[in-house]
Amino acid sequence: MLLCSALSVQALSDSEILEAMNTELERSVETLTQQENPLHYLSYEIFETERKALASSFGQSQFASTNRISTLDVELRVGDPEFDNTALLPNTRQNSDPRTVSAPISLETPKALRQTLWAATDAAYKANSQVFENLKNSANLNSRDSTTDPDFSVSTPQEAVERDLKLKWNESKWQKILNEMSRVFRDRPSEIYTGGTSLTGSRTNSFFVNSEGSSIKQSHLMYTISLQVTGQNKQGESMSRSAQFSSHTLDRLPNKKELLASAQQIKQELLSLLEAPLVEPYTGPAILSGRASGVFFHEILGHRLEGHRLRLQSDAQTFKEMVNQEVLPATFNVYFDPTIDRLGDIDLMGAYRFDNEGIKSRRVTAIENGVLKGFLMSRAPLEEFPHSNGHGRKQPGFKPVSRQSNLIVDVSDRVPLSDLKELLLQEAREQGKDFGLLFDDIQGGFTFTNRGMPNAFNVQPTIVYKIYLDGTEELVRGVDLIGTPLTAFSRIVAASEETDVFNGWCGAESGSVPVSAVSPAILVKQIEVQKKASNEGRLPILPAPLSVEDFQL
């Protein structure tokens, strides 16, 4: 029952698609700029996405799927760049809908393509014109502050057509590899409840045109291999371990030997976790591995550097007034660079050439020698940062806002990891602690930046060790790393020579976008951990039906 037929590619050429988009765009601009509420900006972005997935469970093929979809997003602005339908007025109800006018679209016939562009533009104009009319009325009632930032920054046109990338794999070969990997989980039926592996691939061709004259076609590929095992410890707590590898091309994924080793590793880690003791709430020194530190910086620093938040009255605006002030140790530099698609052996998923507002991507130095230098900007300007720096990003169907790309933490003064562990123990001794903590791996995290709630972060570790004063390490479980940003930054004391990469997806107002975080391991003088939310269930009433000997391994 396995599926193997290939999906056909778009029938129209890149130039035919861009030409049809431009034709319809020009036709709309000509008429809609003449309306009572005139259009001042229009862009079309079409995403043609193909996804394939293979999955395996305990050595057997479990799932196979392929799908392809093309969608259109229309960004249409009524008014002028100073004041348009996206304006944020004080004391008024604001249009907070994060979704844009979006529609499925066919790239196989010009008729279907243009008909959809036309219908979506009409819907977008009518909706945004009405919003703008309401905002004008509100603006008359609430005189607009003269210091209010403009709503939109104009830009110069960009042109680029990237070659088509192909999503292609040898299905039987990869299914066999996935089966071999998931077969590793088969020999502990009483402890391992589910053991699966998957390979997903996605290719996105995006076509962008706007009323400034930009015309861009990009092609992105992403492959991800995932491994996951789950079980339940004696207390009934559900536990899992997983590993993920992402790349831009298939040949840059780990080889079979490395994947099998990874499967063995997460299996052993799960089995150890099932026996691991619970750690109690703790404050004291800790090392965050490169991956953990990457997520730590993404959550506590990165989200607070996203420029659009600093326009919102509801946001805590932690760093808005701290430009040119020291926020990290002087040895720390943090930059965001979507132009780098690889670091050493690892591909970076936060790479792109143009953002979703037609702006060329560029490196943004956020922290230089510990001093805050700038923010991540979309085309929603700030007084001191009036232009986009190519970080207006979104998931198809959403409105773009400033988002992170590849976050890179670069520290000028580093020590080997072994020395970092020594420094940890030294710090623990000085604080009178019996141990320090090592956060070796994490699954993700989240943060709150609004004023209405504590401005805290939560990083969710999966592998945590207690390192006792004699250097012995003990795997523990059941805690999250929590804190507040400015305090956490002030406690960073050292970084390792080794760096690591966390590739993942970041979810925020403009949907889910791929990001990377690159960081050395860091030593933090004092962190706080709290108990994880309980997920205890009841243990199975009956033992596993088959013993290890019954399984064909």
Partner: protein
């Protein structure tokens, strides 16, 4: 000649290998299910808490292609193959068990499912998943059962109808052949059909969707029932929409629903039907708006079918009242499945000329294939014919293994979702009028009422059949005013409103012409209600009612497009 001679044994060998593989797979599934069932029934009975009295396993094997096309080009497509395991565990007894009980509006996780099952059947892995799923389902059942018995003990509620009916064990293997998934042929068909609408610039939006689903169920329960069931569905739907000159939205749907894609009607015939609907809807743009109307309505063709399927079809769905525990620990009987027909068995519900039955085994009617046909339902009850209305008197209802007052056995109609649904619903009259006689009768009614015109409803949109006594409404996609001189005037779309089941008693006449159509039936069944979708066929004559209320379909008047469409510009 040599070539042909060599091919024969090879073809035979391939057939043999394929058949052998299927049989081997089936054996693995039933072996794993059987061993798990035996162990679970035996070992869970030995536990301190309540023992299971019934366990069933269903393995759903599914392979599906879906595509959406507009004006000759694919907009999206997906292909997926997956297996899902479903486990039911009942504790207590047939009379009182863990089902049919809700805490507030929360579903009670019955049955439990997992999608983790491999595509290739593997005895050990199936046993592993069956173990974990049975364990979860059992613990859940014990918890719900405890809560239910405590709630019933502490509240005064009549609980006389059993929760589950007993069933003689059945062994059945469905030998019907599966359809094929030919991606390129499916794409060609959907694009070919959607391209028809390129000739209609007045149509502002359209979508042609196709789904071809190859589905097989493997079932085993602790009563000894074991079956396999082929449940393929192929569905083609064209949605056409535009805007009238006065801004009213206009919409219609053309569909072809069959079991296998080789049963779809001829492409050219279907395209003609799409063209016909497109032309009608294009003409409707400049048609007059329907005023509020109360008087005789003649339902013909698609409108008669939808009326029968959704208003009458839903009235035959019998469900037991659910017990709901409220946050203050009191319980009450949920009113959702309160089907007025459940208290009317033996009473007149239609004129005496009418007979209505559901026949799951019927394969064609008046020479037209019926695709709602099934040999066995999802609970292992062999399909049968159920007489619902005889000479206008309600004689029966459609049930699952959840008995209702007065009907303690299943009619074999539990297919999808949580309740019974119609399969092949046949409405017959012993006094069918010719088309001319129908129109004459219609005109007579109009004249008797002193009305300027009567209403003829020709096409209706698919809707969800809602069970209950509340007045219902239904969109009429193609509606005409019929004047005394016989002139018919196409109107903008309308809506039947305030329709109640007792309206059926007032059918004045039915045609000798029979309309037969297979479509996807959608019924809100269960408590809390969820939409159950199943393939069903309906055969009904045209129906003339003396008094029906119609209103304009839409009161929204959107502005017309600012720019002409690119198709209009040419």
């Amino acid at each position: 000649m040599k070539f042909a001679t060599m091919m024969k044994p090879l073809s035979f060998l391939l057939f043999f290998v394929a058949s052998y593989t299927a049989i081997a797979s089936e054996q693995i599934v039933f072996q794993a299910m059987g061993d798990s069932l035996e162990r679970s029934m035996k070992m869970l009975t030995g536990q301190d808490s309540t023992a299971p009295y019934f366990i069933s396993y269903t393995l759903h094997q599914d392979e599906q292609i879906q595509m959406n096309s507009m004006l000759g080009g694919i907009r999206s497509e997906s292909q997926v193959a997956s297996n899902t395991l479903e486990v039911q565990v009942r504790v207590g007894s047939y009379e009182l068990d863990n089902t049919n009980f809700l805490v507030n509006r929360r579903s009670n996780n019955f049955p439990l499912t997992t999608p983790d099952v491999p595509l290739e059947f593997d005895y050990e892995i199936l046993r592993h998943h069956l173990w974990l799923l049975t364990d979860s389902a059992y613990k859940n059942a014990v918890e719900i059962y405890g809560e239910k018995t405590t709630a019933l003990d502490n509240n005064s509620v009549d609980y006389e109808v059993a929760d589950f009916s007993r069933q003689e064990p059945v062994t059945f293997r469905d030998n019907r052949r599966h359809g094929k998934l030919d991606r390129d042929a499916i794409a060609k068909r959907v694009n070919d059909i959607s391209s028809v609408l390129s000739d209609y610039p007045e149509i502002l939006n359209s979508n042609t969707a196709i789904t071809v689903d190859i589905h097989q169920d493997y079932y085993l329960d602790s009563e000894g029932t074991s079956f396999t069931r082929v449940d393929d569905i192929a569905e083609l739907t064209v949605v056409i929409s535009t805007q009238a000159e006065n801004g009213a939205p206009l919409l219609d749907t053309v569909s072809d629903v069959v079991r296998r894609s080789d049963q779809f009607q001829d492409v050219e015939t279907f395209k003609d039907e799409v063209r016909s609907v497109a032309e009608t809807i294009a003409a409707m743009r400049s048609a007059n708006e329907l005023e509020n109307y109360n008087g005789p309505v003649l339902f013909v063709e698609g409108a008669a079918i939808e009326l029968a399927a959704h208003f009458l079809g839903s009235a035959f769905i019998a469900q037991k009242d659910a017990i709901r525990k409220l946050s203050n620990n009191q319980i009450r009987v949920a009113s959702i499945p309160n089907n007025p027909f459940q208290t009317k068995i033996g009473a007149r519900v239609l004129p005496r000329e009418f007979t209505v039955y559901n026949d799951s085994l019927l394969e064609s009617y008046n020479g037209v294939p019926l695709h709602g046909t099934i040999p066995i339902d999802a609970e292992g009850v062999l399909a049968t014919r159920t007489n619902l209305i005889e000479r206008g008197i309600l004689r029966g209802l459609l049930t699952s293994r959840q008995p209702v007052e007065g009907i303690d056995q299943s009619t074999g109609n539990r297919l999808a979702g949580r309740g019974p649904v119609p399969t092949n619903l046949i409405i017959e009259t012993n006094r069918g009028f010719s088309n001319e006689e129908m129109l004459e009768e219609f005109q007579l009614l109009v004249s008797d009422r002193g009305l300027e015109y009567g209403i003829l409803a020709k096409r209706a949109v698919r809707g969800v059949g809602v069970i209950g006594s509340q007045p219902k409404s239904m969109m009429i996609n193609e509606v005409y005013k019929v004047y005394p001189d016989g002139t018919q005037e196409l109107m903008q779309q309308g809506r039947v409103s305030q329709f109640v089941l007792s309206n059926f008693k007032d059918i004045i006449a039915a045609s000798e012409r029979v309309n037969v159509k297979t479509h996807m039936g959608r019924y809100a069944v269960g408590s809390p209600p969820s939409t159950a979708t199943n393939i069903m066929s309906v055969a009904t004559p045209d129906l003339l009612f003396e008094e029906i209320t119609l209103t304009p379909a839409q009161t929204v008047r959107a502005k017309p497009p600012i720019l002409p469409s690119p198709m209009e510009e040419g």
